[in-house]
């Protein structure tokens, strides 16, 4: 990404570091420079996700330059290797702040990694912008967290509410057996039951399961009006969507409802026919018709290649950068935690996904949630929006 020269430079620094036995401590940042520490999963199973965020950030800088309020913006990226490595994410956070003198952290794709860094941010007094980690409670763990992505209750509860209002009386739920899955199950049920619906059965599947036929058979035998499903995306979700098509859920008169990350833009070509008629709730799809989205997709393709398709993750990272730039400008160029956090609270951004606001009380994103149906448009499978829930806040907080 930085070109061959940048790589050679880093290789040279590395050689120097090895020669001295330990990499030398970073000198304090020169005044008037904004250093952004970025922590993403860049190796292993989730490397593809990491790429989306990285390219989202690059796309933003391509459009908006590498200076804000007269200060050069320097990005230092580290690899946290995916979920479960919270101890590493915490150390990387500490090192970015201590060694690289980062003024702000952008990152955390997974809940555990954000949670483990929470107490550090308070000790170091550095704000962190969360690019994904979607479990509701995270932002309550530290007043230095600001979330620009989404929360699972946002999607799941909106979908539950929509289902109850649109003639669906009975639902079977099927979620992956880990924290986000349980969040999705809980909030879908809460909203659906509050709207008068009835849950006739529920099952939790192993997180990495690729075999859904037996579970789907049980659903078909229970004859609900709809099946609500959540799984962790990627190959697992593609396998699930294909299985649902093969078992002919639609033919049995059962609607399929999923959170939007199950049918994200990147995997639509793999899911294919399986997307037909599937209802999902999400905060972004590449088909959104707006000048911001067009600009974003164009810049993204320039950065990642003409064939690349950005998904919600790239948008979230793009918005994280936008939030930072706008906050620095709003704070008159100040980059200390108090000034930045004050500027971020209540700020409104024109995101590719639509207008988003940072709730000043919860520091969590408030955004439109789209209810979409899978359709074939111009020979390509897409999620087409047919209803929009305006300005949805995280139900995980408003419910209390």
């Amino acid at each position: 990404m930085n070109g061959d020269f940048g790589w050679a430079l880093r290789a040279a620094t590395f050689g120097l570091a090895l020669a001295t036995g330990f990499s030398p401590a970073a000198a304090p940042a020169a005044d008037g420079k904004l250093i952004v520490g970025v922590i993403l999963p860049l190796s292993g199973t989730f490397a593809n996700e990491g790429r989306q965020y990285e390219q989202g950030i690059a796309a933003y800088q391509k459009l908006n330059g590498k200076t804000v309020a007269g200060q050069p913006v320097e990005i230092v990226t580290r690899d946290d290797q995916g979920p479960g490595s919270g101890d590493l994410a915490r150390r990387l956070t500490q090192e970015l702040i201590l060694r690289d003198k980062a003024d702000v952290i952008i990152g955390y794709s997974f809940t555990p990694n954000a949670m483990s860094a929470a107490s550090l941010l308070g000790e170091a007094k550095r704000p962190a912008i969360i690019v994904n980690a979607a479990t509701s409670i995270i932002t309550e763990r530290s007043p230095y967290f600001v979330r620009v992505s989404w929360t699972l209750p946002q999607s799941a509860a909106t979908l539950g509410d929509w289902a109850a209002k649109n003639g669906i009386k009975t639902v079977y739920t099927m979620v992956s057996d880990y924290a986000p899955g349980i969040d999705a199950e809980t909030w879908f049920k809460k909203a659906f039951i509050a709207g008068g619906g009835q849950v006739v059965g529920e099952v939790r599947t192993p997180v990495t399961s690729m075999e859904y036929a037996p579970y789907l058979q049980r659903v078909i035998e229970a004859k609900p009006d709809a099946l609500f499903a959540f799984n962790p995306g990627g190959d697992v979700s593609v396998a699930f969507m294909k299985a649902a098509r093969e078992r002919n859920l639609a033919g049995a008169g059962i609607k399929l409802l999923v959170t939007g990350d199950v049918v994200e833009d990147n995997s639509l070509s793999l899911i294919g026919e399986g997307l037909d008629g599937v209802i999902s709730a999400h905060h972004y799809q590449s088909g959104i018709a707006s000048a911001e989205n067009e600009r974003f997709i164009k810049a993204y393709k320039e950065v990642a290649g003409a064939e690349a398709i950005p998904n919600f993750r790239a948008v979230q990272a793009y918005d994280a950068m936008d939030l930072l730039y706008k906050a620095v400008a709003k704070a008159g160029g100040k980059t200390d935690a108090t000034a930045l956090l004050e500027a971020m609270k209540g700020i409104t951004l024109a995101s590719p996904r639509g207008t988003i606001t940072i709730d000043p009380q919860t520091r969590d994103v408030v955004q439109d949630v789209y209810i979409r149906r899978g359709e074939k448009v111009d020979g390509r499978w897409q999620n087409r929006t047919f209803e929009t829930y305006k300005a949805v806040a995280d139900p995980g907080k408003t419910a209390r």
Binding site: F14, F22, A25, A47, G50, D87, L98, S116
Partner: protein, 328 residues
């Protein structure tokens, strides 16, 4: 494995000298790093944990000859043990350390009858299977372990009621260093004792040992228990210094990693294994800083090079160097 073992060259009468000049050098380097690299203490602390974990596994593989692909279970249990205790309000770090060691020792005691019997190959499978079971059990017990989210919502009280854990990681480093020194000394004592010698005997020829009246099964069980307890100490230390415990800590990747680390260091050589673990941690960090995306490629090359170029690992190099010195 034993062909690669530097200690086996020396025979039983001459155990590798763990307190060769290398040992003071290791501790001098560790103490110096506190003053020279005050911005790297978090990394150094995690490396000390890796060193403790490596030493615990080395007792098992390098001295008793028991191979395992599930040793991270004890690291993870130690981490959960101290983290859960802290969540219940018992936040004293030393208490957490004791809890981590006890829970791991207890589980090792329960498992030892099925691990101790059998050949290397069955042990690999059994330890792998047990590790999967415990991993899934921890995943299911969400209320206790936090499931896939891990545990981060616990406090750690100041050490001895005096030294709070600071942002720069000074307390954490000195704490980890002290624990490492104690583990190092204890292992040196154990491996040079008659019990340690008996373990070597069992490793070299487990059929002949009963003939000289050595209770093989009991010796192996004790070494398994001890190794588990030390790994538990490492895990508790990891949880306390990183304020985090998760499934990953008892997962397969950490189990496999420690086998690599011990091989790199030279099985059966306490100083070599310590240096190997430190080198592994440093190289891994340096590579992933240079290239966050392709660092695993570099690590693979380094590991392969170490197998081909340094037979017997770092411990082997130390021994060869030492012999060369004596002959000259």
């Amino acid at each position: 494995m034993s062909a690669l073992n530097p200690a086996s060259h020396g025979g039983l009468s001459k155990p590798a000298l763990p307190f060769s000049p290398v040992t003071p050098l290791i501790f001098a380097a560790l103490i110096a790093s506190y003053f020279l690299f005050p911005n790297h203490l978090a990394l150094a602390t995690q490396i000390l944990v890796l060193m403790i974990f490596a030493l615990s596994y080395d007792l098992l593989q390098g001295h008793a000859g028991i191979v395992s692909l599930g040793h991270a279970v004890f690291l993870g249990l130690g981490a959960y043990g101290s983290a859960i205790l802290a969540r219940w309000g018992f936040t004293d770090p030393l208490l957490g350390l004791a809890a981590g060691a006890s829970i791991s020792a207890l589980v090792a005691l329960v498992l030892s009858p099925i691990v101790v019997r059998g050949s290397d190959f069955t042990r690999l499978l059994v330890t792998l299977g047990v590790a999967s079971l415990i991993h899934e059990a921890a995943n299911r017990m969400r209320d206790l372990t936090g499931g896939a989210d891990g545990l981060a919502d616990f406090e750690v009280a100041p050490l001895l009621g005096l030294f709070a854990f600071d942002f720069e990681g000074r307390t954490a480093f000195l704490y980890a260093l002290t624990v490492f020194a104690l583990v190092y000394a204890a292992l040196w004592r154990v491996t040079t004792s008659p019990f340690g010698l008996a373990l070597r005997g069992i490793r070299e020829n487990s059929r002949r040992m009963p003939a000289i009246g050595s209770p093989v099964a009991r010796h192996l069980a004790v070494s398994y228990l001890l190794s588990g307890a030390i790994a538990g100490v490492g895990g508790a230390l990891l949880a306390q210094t990183s304020r985090f415990a998760s499934l990953d800590m008892l997962g397969f990747e950490r189990s496999a990693e420690i086998v690599m680390v011990v091989t790199l260091g030279g099985t059966g050589h306490i100083a070599g294994v310590s240096i190997g673990a430190a080198a592994f941690g440093l190289v891994k960090d340096a590579l992933s800083t240079v290239s966050p995306r392709y660092w695993q490629l570099g690590l693979g090359v380094v590991l392969m090079a170490s197998v081909f170029l340094a037979r017997g690992g770092i411990g082997g190099l130390i021994e060869r160097f030492g012999r060369f010195g004596r002959r000259a």
